[in-house]
Each structure stands twice: as C-alpha cells, then as structure tokens.
Symmetry: C2
Subunit: 173 residues, 2 copies
Amino acid sequence: MITLSIKTSKTPMKKPHFAPLSAQEKELIKFFVKMAAILGVQRSVAEIYALLYSSPEALEFDVIQGRLAMSKGSVSQGLRFLKGNGMVESIKVKGSRRERWQPSPSLAASLVGLLRNQVLPSLEESKPLLQKLVDEASDQNFSAEVIDRLTRLQRWNSRALELSTFLLPPPEA
Amino acid sequence: MITLSIKTSKTPMKKPHFAPLSAQEKELIKFFVKMAAILGVQRSVAEIYALLYSSPEALEFDVIQGRLAMSKGSVSQGLRFLKGNGMVESIKVKGSRRERWQPSPSLAASLVGLLRNQVLPSLEESKPLLQKLVDEASDQNFSAEVIDRLTRLQRWNSRALELSTFLLPPPEA
DNA sequence: GCCTAAGTTCAATTTTAAATGAAAACTCGA
DNA sequence: TCGAGTTTTCATTTAAAATTGAACTTAGGC
C-alpha cells in the first residue's frame, strides 16, 4: 500500500492537532453537563462553557472545536446560545479575524441570564390563560374545589412572576 | 361487506367510552405541560396531573387512560412518578379493587417534592468532585484565574445545597 | 384457595431533540 | 474590491427520550 502526500502552497494540508482533554477538564465538563441537564440546557453547550471556564486564556473557535471533537455547527450554535444568555463574551485581537471566547466574569449574572430566558417567558404567557380559566370556571359553575385550585394556581403564577422579575431584572435600564 | 358482531357472556365486549376533554381541560393540560417542560418532567406525567387537578372527584385508572387516550403503561408509570414525588395520592373504596387518584392537597408541597428529587441529588454528588478539582488545581499550579473560578464554583454549589436543604427539608423527621 | 380484574413491567417502537457537515454567507486584511 | 479565512445556516443523520402494548404479576372478592 502506497500513501501519497502531496503538499503545495495551494493546499497546505495543515491538520492542526489539539491537546486531548485533561482528567480535570473531563471532570469539570461532566459537572457542567449535569447541572445543565437540570436547567434543560444541551450537553454540547455545557461542554463548551466548561472548557472555556477551565481555560486561563480565551479560546478560538477552532480550538474549541478541536479539543471537544465537536462539529463546527455545534460550536457555532453553542456559542450563540451562550452569548445570547450573557454567559460568554468574545474579544477580538487586532490583526486577526478570529474571535476569542471566554466565560463572562460573573457566574451569578450568567445564571440569571439563563433563568430569565428559560422560565420568565413561560410564566408571562401563561398569565392571561390562567385568568381566563378562572373566569370561565366561575361562570360555568364548576365545583368550588376546582375553582379554588385554579385560583391557587393563578396566585402561584403571579408570585413566581413577581419574584422572577425582582430577582432577574432585565439587563440595561 | 358483512360485519359480524359476536357477543357472548364470555366476551362481554364492553367498550366504555369516555368523555372527550373539554376546552378548559385542554388548556390546563397545555399549561401544566409547559411548566413541566421547564422542570424536565415528561408530557404524559403533566397531562395526568392536569386532568386530576381539574377534576372535582378522584379518578380511576381506566378513566385517566380513556380520557387522555393514553396507554396503560404510561398511566401506570406516570402515576408512580407523581406518587413518588408526593404530588398525587390514591384512595381506596371498600368493595372495589380499583384505586382512585387525586392531586395532593398542597401544590407547594408537590413542587417541593419534585424539586428535592430533581436537583438535590446532583448538587450533593458534585460536592466531593468540586473539592477534588480545587485541590488538584492548587497542587498542580493552575493559573490563579482558573483556581479562583473553581473556588467560586465550589462556593456556589455549597450555598445552593444549604439553601435547598433548608427550603426543602426531607419529609418526616 | 381460586380466579379474574387490576395494575406493572419492559422490550420494541415511535417520537422528539441534538449533532453533523457541506454549502452559503459574511468579513476584513491586503 | 477581491478573495481566502471564518462563521453561520439548515437539511440530513444520529442519538436520546418517551410511549406503547402484550405478557406477566399481584391483589382481593367470591
């Protein structure tokens, strides 16, 4: 069997190899993946965040992709999600077109961003629905027990909403 | 085309039909399904809980299955999950082998039961892992930045754990 | 103590969510 | 402005999760 390796200036055939994950990095990834599962965040996103979190310097797209052995699509979508929730930020170095990524400095702010986007919308859009249900139940002579339950549900929703908007105020003001 | 309908005492051919879901019931089911999604609880479980929640009287297994058009397996597993988290309870009527199901009286207690089982175990089992990571990072001269991040992570985990065990004490004492 | 209604189990199936990667789109240095 | 270097998009593939239903087990009325 003969293997030909052609190398021209047109096809530099650069095949950068990235350092495999260390034991510590693997463990931290496991941890973030587990926590992410609780919050309903996908594994690839957790892996990216964990890698950035355990890196002393900001990382380039390629490095993230290479070290996590993940597709470009997943890295791109994962970074977009993390950025959209204020969990990572990118910096640009002059003379290079590549962005470099690092976790946002405040872990608290990151969690807040995540929660705000995950739970607030559902709480908000349910408010009118619950109101309608309570009204209809009263009008249509539902049992007192059911009306009571629905009313309590509505109260819970309102409280959760108030608490959330208090704890998780929107960014900027 | 000829259709034969054979009916004997051995095969009573009873085909109980159940009332279709009302508009209100459908809406409430949607609401619970949405909330359940946030908590990572599956749709069939949310549907069962929603149906019980909107019913003035306790419901039999068959009725749940019939009205939700759901398989026996899903009803059985769903009720087990809900019962295991203290969200529903069954009552037995003398002379009948069927159990009748209703939501637990306290919605708050139900949520507490759910959260305790969903998040506490992960927080607890991560504690020693994080400690190990912090120790190793210090031993192996990781960058100050990374050590600091890991330490903050550990602090967060501890605080969340304390808060959880305070807010969600185990049942019985 | 039978016997059957009632409920459970779990392998197979269906459904849903996530990851991939080739092609398109964008971006900035030259 | 051109074009290679980057990143994004999204149809397809793959993987994970939920549901089904027939076989099995259990419970309790007779």
